[in-house]
Symmetry: C2
Subunit: 345 residues, 2 copies
């Protein structure tokens, strides 16, 4: 099977459509005709080799929504015509403690990423969702609620699950005061999920206009983090903080907002940032990280979204606008996720 | 009541014995004739105004063991002649959520430190244990097991409880693999407590000789943190890390030792140190802090020490050797805590 895919070399050079050999359909495989693919910061990082040498040609994209066009002989969960999703993973060892717990994202033998990962089973490199089609084993394919607009569902596969998982893991519950730090692709999903979970949601941002936007998305309150008086007034009052800022920053002012024994979870910044030990020691505070989410909880999240009518806010683009989208994304000039309409490939 | 106390101005100048007016005995107060006082890094930091301007004359010392010499009319827990201890706190609000939970060290209105703290009830500044006597309300006085050598018990009131509390809070239990990072006043107590709790204790140190010492104290294994191969072999294998290093350092190599969802607790370093977000995100790891311990758990720790024959390793000094002790302490030249014999004041 040959399939047209969109190979990204970097964010500036014109990109070209390549024809890539896809693997043939195994017994447990699902072949998906892609309808929409969200554009994640990771795509750009990979295109630019920010995270180490990328294997070019690279086909980014791990917020994939499409329609099943063929299934292997042993596939039981899906049939031709189903609307399905694929997120950041397409394979894991399936026999370690993490996989047994449904936490494939923490697979002790390393999961296979949807793109730019070594394909341990078939050899070569995985290619992602900026493409016509993708073949994925059924255990990594998700059911998509039929009542939601598909272009708005795509970002749930990465931005959605990345914020859902920590909110669930740290058990935020009705009556809690939860802060979402940063309003972008991740942050706006954090606000929507936290609100739907019944907590008091505080948008924590440097930007007054982002604060206003967050209120429209369901936030109960806005805290402008550059206002020292406001920050002081909220000190020691939060039950959980979801920090979605995608770059290194001073986390200590946020940590001071936490109550005794509470946690700030980082889902964006991977570079080194300084922590004051005293801020942790002072109130037995925690700082943690969280990586996307397992397949089981991704399905739970999608089902929850179907029940509650939750989707991502998106701007649909044509495939050939991807470089401009990358540039705008870096400037946070998107509300809140670009999604590629794959008909335009 | 006037009492001779040892006022520390800094670590270099000769110090002098001052006569300080102690408060009269209130109904719930206990007056204690001090027999031994441990020497904590905090004493030196305070003597040197490292943590902001110290109120001179300052009398450090919050690892206090002594004998009750008088009690107020309403004191019920102690009688004249009892051997008692006083740790880092002498007062807290007693009505906030933290105090209600027995966590006076996290008092929402701020606890009163044993020295160099504003004395909210009586005015003035509190004076610590480098003194003949101290008057403390009974709710902040601890029972001391009578079967232990008193000079070796003194450091339990700070170094002991500071390591005990996180081991208990993070619920280390038989079968766990627990690392103690750094072997000093705190670290050596961490090793002893963790061993007594039935866990597999790994001493993590840069020093081969400290590793050997830790084995004598009960560690099951030594991990030399500067040996990259050893560190790699232990990656992703620890259930808990107690980090006792008292200064800023690169914590990331230690974080990589933690299993999924596990925690490294900082009890020493209060300055800023860099954390790689990716190391947290990668395995949903946590880094936290912990401050001394509450009165209830301090009593539990002392009782546990009595039952298990656990004490601190100490070097007993005369009062007038304090400056030399400070200098040696800064060079880690003590196994593992200096304790002042107050008969020498």
């Amino acid at each position: 099977m040959t399939t047209k895919a969109y190979a990204a070399f970097n964010a500036v050079d014109p990109l070209g459509a390549h024809t890539i050999e896809r693997r043939t359909l195994d017994a447990k495989d699902v072949s998906i005709k892609i309808e929409y693919c969200g554009v994640c910061h990771s795509d750009l990082h990979t295109a630019k080799s920010d995270w180490g040498p990328t294997n070019y040609p690279a086909v980014p994209g791990h917020e994939i929504i499409g329609r099943v066009e063929a299934v292997g002989s042993e596939v039981t969960k899906f049939k031709v015509g189903d609307i399905v999703g694929v997120g950041c993973m397409v394979e894991s060892c399936q026999h370690c403690h993490s996989c047994d717990e449904g936490l494939e994202q923490y697979c002790e033998n390393g999961f296979t990423g949807t793109y730019n990962s070594k394909n341990s089973k078939y050899g070569g490199i995985t290619y992602g969702g900026y493409a016509e089609k993708i073949v994925v084993q059924e255990s990594f394919v998700l059911n998509v609620p039929t009542n939601l607009p598909l272009e708005n569902v795509a970002p749930l596969l990465c931005a959605g699950i990345t914020t859902w998982s920590p909110l669930r893991h740290w058990n935020v519950k009705k009556g809690d005061k939860v802060g979402v730090v940063g309003l972008g692709g991740l942050g706006h999903m954090g606000v929507k999920f936290a609100k739907a979970m019944g907590v008091h949601v505080v948008m924590i941002t440097t930007s007054v206009s982002k604060g206003e936007d967050a209120m429209k998305l369901g936030a109960d309150e806005v805290l402008i983090s550059t206002n020292a008086d406001e920050m002081k007034a909220h000190a020691y009052s939060f039950d959980f903080l979801l920090n979605t800022i995608p770059v290194a920053h001073d986390v200590n002012p946020y940590l001071l907002l936490l109550k005794l024994d509470k946690t700030m979870c980082m889902v964006g910044a991977i570079e080194p940032f300084p922590i004051h030990g005293g801020v942790l020691i002072n109130k037995r505070r925690n700082i943690a990280g969280s990586l996307i989410g397992g397949i089981k909880e991704t399905q739970e999240m999608l089902d929850f979204c179907g029940e509650h009518g939750i989707v991502s806010e998106v701007e649909v683009i044509n495939m050939h606008d991807i470089n401009e989208a990358y540039v705008r994304m870096q400037k946070s000039d998107v509300k809140y996720r670009f999604v590629i309409d794959m008909k335009t490939l």
